[in-house]
């Protein structure tokens, strides 16, 4: 197991294509971040998230030969996850909402620092109460703004990666993030997240 830990994603893809049993190394590598991502972006319970993740992994496995090696594997798998979440939300005809900034996300929120690169807003979230308000505030954002904020600030993806995941130009991603931050700031004031703001 340990020797596989140091292998790159691409090497694991090649191993998985040789023997499906090796696919579990990739799954184990991506299970925690994808579960977190799903719970942040979709209104799903843990069970639903796991079911959805199974579908995502099956889809990833089926499409392994189509993986574009010029992309990062993580961008590719997030793209598939994103598409599945959108499809799932469409199927259920429910609005995709940000939910669980709880449980597994708590640690992120506790250490949680969301700093605007421009430096004009800086939120430090320490309590469960603020995380709930943060969740509510995020829920108020339109999907297109929420997803870029989550990918940028929670999943820590670069503009290029977000561009590859959402299949939008980097310029559009930058604009969306900018607008999302402004909209979030307005909402945050309403949800009294502003009081948590650091000077």
């Amino acid at each position: 197991m340990d020797k596989y830990k140091n292998l790159s994603d691409l090497q694991l893809v090649q191993l998985s294509l040789k023997d499906h049993q090796n696919f579990h190394y990739l799954m184990e590598r991506y299970e925690p971040p994808l579960l977190r991502y799903m719970k942040r972006t979709a209104s799903v319970t843990r069970e639903e998230a796991e079911d959805l993740l199974q579908d995502i992994f099956i889809k990833v496995y089926r499409n392994l030969n189509g993986f574009d090696q010029k992309l990062r594997f993580s961008s590719w798998i997030y793209r598939i996850a994103h598409n599945e979440i959108v499809n799932q939300a469409y199927k259920k005809k429910v609005r995709s909402v940000t939910t669980s900034l709880n449980e597994s996300n708590e640690h992120l929120l506790k250490q949680g620092e969301w700093t605007e690169e421009s430096g004009d807003a800086h939120f430090e979230l320490e309590s469960k109460d603020s995380s709930e308000r943060m969740r509510d505030a995020l829920m108020k954002l339109p999907d297109k703004y929420r997803e870029v904020l989550i990918l940028k600030f929670f999943e820590d993806k670069s503009y290029r990666e977000i561009s590859a995941i959402l299949r939008k130009p980097e310029g559009t991603i930058a604009t969306l993030i900018n607008r999302a931050k402004k909209k979030f700031k307005k909402i945050a004031i309403r949800y009294q997240l502003e009081s948590e703001r650091q000077p």
Binding site: H20, Q21, H24, Q54, F57, N65, A164, P169
Partner: protein
């Protein structure tokens, strides 16, 4: 191994799930690329015919048709082909965005690039004569297109304004020929004193022409200038009978009389 990965592996085994073969992805990419290239080609063809129609719109005669050049422009814009060009530009953008790297480019940038490529391609097709051939094929074989073009044809059948267009049905001796205009009326065309034959034309049966001149009396039209209805690739009778050398392809005064 986590519970979830165990479940997935079990499902893969039980349902005998296999990765899709590589050729399937190659085929999909090739299909998208082919559609993308076809959209560019068709957009270029549409743009080529639009360029052909615009360049053959007889801008120098706009005062015969309308009061201003703006009014004339609105009148002769090849809307049919522009709609096609815009449609194929949209397809080009759509298919390009579905290529592997297509998402990286903005829609506006792609639209501008696509239009630029269509116009450049169209200009090339126009220079090669393909645009004119395509226009002629549409005229001959597509009734709806012919109906749409009738407006343009009928513009030229305004003898009271000094304009006439149609097909030569009989070449007669003595500097005259018979013409059936695009409204179906028959005319005797008599050559004026200093008649100008554009682009090396000569009177030939079935040749479609435009005539600038004036009505002499009912059914008789004096021609001062004759131009081809189509461009250079669909003209017949461009030789200079009785002349040892080739005709001046641009301009020839006192053109030949009938055979």
């Amino acid at each position: 191994m986590t519970r979830l990965s165990q479940t997935v592996l079990k499902k893969i085994e039980e349902e005998r799930i296999r990765p899709y073969p590589k050729w399937r992805f190659i085929l999909r990419r090739s299909f998208i690329t082919t559609l993308f290239v076809m959209s560019i080609l068709l957009g270029s063809l549409a743009s080529g015919v639009a360029i052909f129609q615009l360049t053959h719109a007889e801008w120098d005669l706009y005062q015969h048709f309308t009061h201003s050049i703006l009014e004339f422009t609105v009148l002769i814009v090849p809307y049919f082909w522009l709609v096609f060009m815009i449609g194929f530009t949209a397809f080009t953008i759509y298919f390009f965005r579905h290529t592997e790297r297509g998402y990286r480019y903005s829609a506006i940038g792609l639209a501008l690039a696509s239009i630029a490529v269509s116009v450049a391609g169209g200009f090339l097709f126009y220079k090669m004569g393909l645009s004119e051939r395509l226009e002629a094929v549409f005229q001959d074989r597509i009734p709806i297109y012919r109906t749409l073009q009738e407006r343009r044809m009928k513009l030229w059948v305004s003898p009271e304004r000094g304009l006439l267009a149609g097909k030569i049905i009989e070449v007669m001796p003595g500097k005259k020929f018979k013409l059936r205009d695009f409204r179906g009326n028959s005319w005797l065309i008599v050559f004026g004193e200093d008649i100008l034959w554009r682009r090396g034309l000569s009177p030939t049966k079935n040749l479609q022409i435009k005539i600038i001149g004036q009505i002499q009396k009912k059914g008789v039209f004096i021609a001062k200038e004759i131009r081809p209805w189509h461009g250079r690739h669909f003209r017949r009778g461009a030789s200079c009978p009785g002349s040892p050398g080739p005709c001046n392809p641009r301009r020839r005064r006192n053109g030949p009389i009938g055979p």
